[in-house]
């Protein structure tokens, strides 16, 4: 609860130092973060880093060995019913009963929630724009439609928090775009979203804040823009390469320097690529020019997840 001071907004999900041990192997090694009302919170990590295990703990499918999880102030295990009333979720794939129609599936789950009537079912069907096919068997649905029906199901109980595990997994580019817009629309209506992904670009396009998880530990929580700025890559096209490389290597802001010689720039030219915080790029570039280096171009590249990991863990590779 200490970080709640940073934000004036209410805390919807609070995860406090959770650990999970399965067969004497610590899979989750003490994760803490908070999700505030109305934000899209990204949960980023490579496959196998403990994302899904964590999500399962958030919704009481797995009980943590240690630590507590609260949704809207209710402990997810001790106060299961109250906590679950405030959350909708899709864990991994949107799995529904294939032998029932979309509508029957929604009726099935609606009857397990307090005060969800037929009118609310019709409402969520409209929200996800499924009206046309809702009375067909789920067996006949495409993945995108199942995904949308899954979200309709998650929205039934008017939750305060929506947990989506890899919502764009397996969708085509058009579907991914629609899903992203849909998620942003939900957040604009005041819903908090917790979205997991293994793709930084996706998190970058949707989320306000992000937690990065690796090997069962959160290695960073912060605003997405800050993180991206911090792990950014800079590429200078310049000559002469030898002198510039020496100069950059000596700079305290520059890490992971790489040199690719290219005589197309100049006879002694090269691309020099480095990892550094964006705010220091002008200073470093000025130093290059002051030293008499001929600069042809400076380019800032958005980091990939791997780059971010490199900058955050200082060289420790993924997996």
């Amino acid at each position: 609860m200490t970080t709640a001071v940073e934000s004036p907004r209410a805390t919807v999900l609070s995860v406090n130092n959770i650990k999970k041990r399965i067969k004497n192997k610590e899979i989750i090694k003490g994760i803490s973060f908070e999700v505030y009302a109305g934000e899209i919170f990204g949960f980023l990590g490579p496959n196998g880093s403990g994302k899904t295990t964590t999500i399962r703990m958030l919704v009481d499918l797995i009980r943590p060995t240690e630590g507590t999880i609260q949704i809207c102030g209710f402990d997810v295990h001790a106060q299961h019913d109250q906590a679950m009333r405030h959350v909708g979720c899709i864990v991994e794939n949107p799995e529904l009963y294939a032998y029932l129609t979309g509508w029957e599936n929604l009726e099935h789950f609606a009857s397990m929630l307090p005060d969800v009537d037929e009118q609310r079912i019709a409402e969520v069907v409209e929200i996800v724009a499924m009206d046309a096919r809702i009375h067909d068997k789920v067996r006949t649905y495409s993945l995108g439609m199942r995904q949308r029906l899954g979200i309709a199901q998650a929205l039934l109980g008017r939750p305060s928090l929506l947990i989506l595990d890899e919502p764009t997994n397996g969708l085509d580019p058009q579907g991914i775009k629609e899903m992203r817009e849909f998620i942003q629309r939900l957040a604009a209506d005041g819903l908090s979203l917790f979205v997991s992904s293994h793709l930084l670009s996706e998190i970058q396009q949707m989320c306000d804040r992000v937690a990065i998880i690796s090997h069962g530990e959160v290695i960073q929580v912060g605003s997405v823009d800050e993180l991206v700025a911090q792990g950014g890559q800079v590429v200078w096209s310049l000559a002469p390469a030898d002198q510039a490389e020496k100069l950059l290597a000596a700079s305290r802001w520059v890490t992971a320097l790489e040199r690719i010689d290219d005589s197309h720039i100049a006879a002694d030219g090269a691309y020099l690529q480095a990892q550094m915080n964006q705010e220091h790029v002008p200073q470093v570039t000025k130093d290059l020019i002051d030293a008499g280096i001929r600069l042809y171009a400076v380019e800032i590249k958005n980091p990939t997840l791997e780059d971010l990991f490199l900058s955050l863990t200082e060289g420790e590779r993924i997996g």
Partner: protein, 330 residues
């Protein structure tokens, strides 16, 4: 318990939409006419063989056959004991002038149910109950069920109630379909025909002191009650396996192996006495009503009912403990 009603209704809808119960009805509709026809052929054959429709001649002939087998040195001792019992009972019926197997729909139903309780009914019960939990695992829908504002024990209880309901319905439909289908051939009468029950075994002797004649409808009711009981025990065991084993096929395989081993054991374990505490050799409850020889010495109706009850309670405890605690990992 308004929410429990909604949960049970959900489970019933799924059971019906999965077409499980429908399959069971189809199995019954296909098999009962077959058994009816077989029974008809047996009756015709007997008539041809003895050249008479008089059941008394038929019965005397049977007794003579059994006696011949009894005197053979090659018949094992256990069989001899069974044969002696059978002969005494057959003679008792003969003395009282009651045909124990006069062909009518009620008698057919009685006989069918009696023969079905050991394997046939447990198998079809398994079809409805073995995947009630494990199918939620294999489709992944367990994750949705358990993330509702409903406690896990309530989810399992709703499944349990549904299984008990459909088990009862299956036993009832077996009886009803048997009567309706066989009646076409054998006629729909026989409700008030007397049947002797209360025949007690004391070693190889038969004690007729407690024997009462009851109307056949009452006997059938008792029989169905016992069949229902052993069917419920099978359903609870399947439910437990469904909770423990995530794969429906594996769960069904285990249950199938256990049930079949029960019928095999019943035929060979008379000297291994502790086997009587296994639930699968105790399923044949209706056997006790007509003085059948139990598979193992020392078993009687009270004993079997107690053993089955204990297994059922244990299965329930295991199911609820595991289901409410386990981590959903897949």
């Amino acid at each position: 318990m308004g929410s429990m009603y909604a949960l049970v209704r959900n489970e019933c809808i799924k059971m019906i939409k999965k077409k499980r119960f429908y399959v069971i009805l189809l199995i019954l509709l296909a098999l009962i006419p077959m058994f009816t026809y077989a029974q008809l052929r047996v009756a015709q054959q007997a008539q041809k063989q003895f050249g008479t429709t008089d059941w008394k001649t038929d019965q005397r002939q049977k007794i003579a056959d059994w006696e011949k087998r009894l005197s053979s040195a090659r018949t094992p001792d256990e069989w001899k004991q069974q044969l002696r019992v059978r002969i005494q009972i057959a003679n008792y019926y003969l003395d009282k002038g009651v045909d124990p197997s006069s062909p009518n729909a009620v008698t057919f139903t009685r006989e069918f149910v009696k023969n079905a309780v050991g394997l046939f009914i447990p198998l079809i019960i398994m079809v409805i109950s073995a995947d009630i939990v494990s199918s939620e695992h294999s489709t992944g829908t367990i994750k949705l069920l358990l993330t509702r504002p409903v406690r896990r024990w309530k989810i399992l209880l709703s499944k349990l109630i549904t299984v008990v309901f459909f088990t009862s319905l299956t036993v009832l439909s077996t009886g009803a379909l048997c009567y309706l289908i066989s009646g076409v051939v054998f006629g729909y009468n026989g409700w008030t025909m007397p049947v002797f029950t209360g025949i007690q075994l004391a070693g190889s002797d038969v004690d007729f002191s407690l024997v009462r004649a009851v109307d056949q409808w009452f006997f059938l009711l008792m029989e169905l009650g016992l069949v229902w009981f052993s069917a419920i025990v099978v359903a609870l065991m399947s439910l437990m396996l469904s909770v423990l084993i995530r794969s429906t096929a594996a769960g069904m395989g285990v249950m199938l192996a256990v049930l079949i081993s029960g019928t095999i054991l019943s035929n060979m374990v008379s000297s291994w006495e502790t086997a009587k505490y296994l639930f699968m050799v105790n399923l044949d409850l209706t056997n006790y009503l007509t003085g059948g020889v139990p598979p193992i010495q020392g078993m009687d109706l009270t004993f079997s009912l107690s053993v089955l009850s204990l297994w059922a309670i244990a299965a329930l405890i295991v199911s609820f403990t595991v289901f409410t605690r386990k981590d959903i990992l897949n």
